[in-house]
Symmetry: C2
Amino acid sequence: MQAKAVALKTRPDGMPKPDDFQIIDIEAPEPKDGQIQVKNLSMSVDPYMRGRMVDRKSYVPPFQIGEVLTGGCIGQVVKSASPDFKEGDYVSSAWGWREAFTESAEGIQSLGTIVAPASEYLGAIGMPGMTAYVGLLEVGALKDGETVFVSGAAGAVGSIVGQIAKLKGCTVIGSAGSDDKVELLTKELGFDHAFNYNDGSILGHLKELAPGGLDVYFDNVGAEHLQAAIMCMRPFGRIALCGAIATYNDTSPRPGPNNLSMAIGLGLTLRGFIVNHFDHLAGKFRSDMEEWVTSGQIITKETVYTGIDQAPEAFIGLFKGSNTGKMIVNF
Amino acid sequence: MQAKAVALKTRPDGMPKPDDFQIIDIEAPEPKDGQIQVKNLSMSVDPYMRGRMVDRKSYVPPFQIGEVLTGGCIGQVVKSASPDFKEGDYVSSAWGWREAFTESAEGIQSLGTIVAPASEYLGAIGMPGMTAYVGLLEVGALKDGETVFVSGAAGAVGSIVGQIAKLKGCTVIGSAGSDDKVELLTKELGFDHAFNYNDGSILGHLKELAPGGLDVYFDNVGAEHLQAAIMCMRPFGRIALCGAIATYNDTSPRPGPNNLSMAIGLGLTLRGFIVNHFDHLAGKFRSDMEEWVTSGQIITKETVYTGIDQAPEAFIGLFKGSNTGKMIVNF
């Protein structure tokens, strides 16, 4: 099967540009023993991929120039030469950034019975949703009734963080990068308060909206957001360090918060994590989140681009705030 | 009883100077009902006191201009009008920076049977020792056999941190501010490695001495030390934020570590604390530490100044690295 795919042409310097990517033709051949041939339906673009475009040691190895990028995707089996899969099965794999692939069935996950649209398994019921779930409940050690702040709250992770916190009876404050997103948070997603971080000082907003302080801060943004949140933490508060999208396109290291020593007197915990650290909770997450999504207790938002050639634009859009909720590329 | 005491004359700007303090005459009168009259034997000077000299909201209220400073001290009861104390009892109180006092017995702790010299109850068996104990074992969640780095390792807290870690079978690296102190750490206190942080880059020393990385960093210093330690942490490492003596005399906020986002991929925890957060462990701490000190498993070091008029110099010396181990003023 012929397919199109996206390769890394040059390593981005600062903000990625369309020219850093190249659409190429690939072949997804007949599967050999143990392989499956899959046609992708939806692929994910995620902020963490920016880190893999830099040639440095990190928790995932860097992408190589000229090679097809990888990332989360949902597809359907076209032909199977593996006893574990049959034609028509929905699968979740890391073989994104391409319309189709033929690969060893090992490491490819059958989704089994799915109860929501396939793309939800890239969003609320997928990696971003699980990131929100473990980051808030395990890393942030959220307790019922606490006050929670989440930055990048209209994004794939943030929008779920805030809604889980509401399910736990918490007061939830979110920041987002436009007035439309702010309105979405309070009007549709049930946040108690939200503010536009491009309008006024973040610290000023937080002091006004959380006069009693914060118990948990879920950090997707870093930089000024992190420093302002530290200023507002209550004693024994927890900060879940999930991402620092404000800094991903920095070309030199940016100084950290100048008030980290406040953590001493207040007994604050700052803890970094990635979702893979919590693989043992995948089963519990999926059953909880499928229930929340299908019952409407958690509302999911997607920003959808269509066609493999749109994938670079979708990815670049993550850093321009073009997405509300999960950024998806459908084929 | 007439006595001398030290009052705060002016709030220090940057490094404290002798002129910021004033020796004054005070009276410790006959005790009234519920009071005790105490002659102090030893007082403590500690880095945290610098923070109380600034007029700002913190975990302890600021010292007031013209008033006698307070801080940990050990004394003996001269006259008691409290049923809980009798003449000759050793007591631990916060009425330091004065030769004698008469105060309500409430809040003053009888030391009961003491098994080591009184000043040890300001050091290894006192607040600094307990800071080391809870910071390493609770906040740092030390596990046997791990690799531990402690900064300011020749100080009152750091020298105990390293020795407790050795008792737990760990590999211990310490930093200190002079070659003499470095030699003390490795030759007398049993540290595996030590380096002079005024000689070469901290990161360079750490990479050489802990090529496999660090599991726990006990931070007494902050600034460059913290950034270098983050660079060297192993996955799921813990950083106990205890102090940031390098920054206490800063006159404007100093940027934090520029590599805090490494905590995400590595799953690092940075947790601040003060010893009071762990009051419930005081009994266990005292019995463990009395055993370690009296058996010689933990060696204690003191730098002793004599006379109340030397107290300001002793305090200022903390920020110049004049002390090895616990800085004490004896009367």
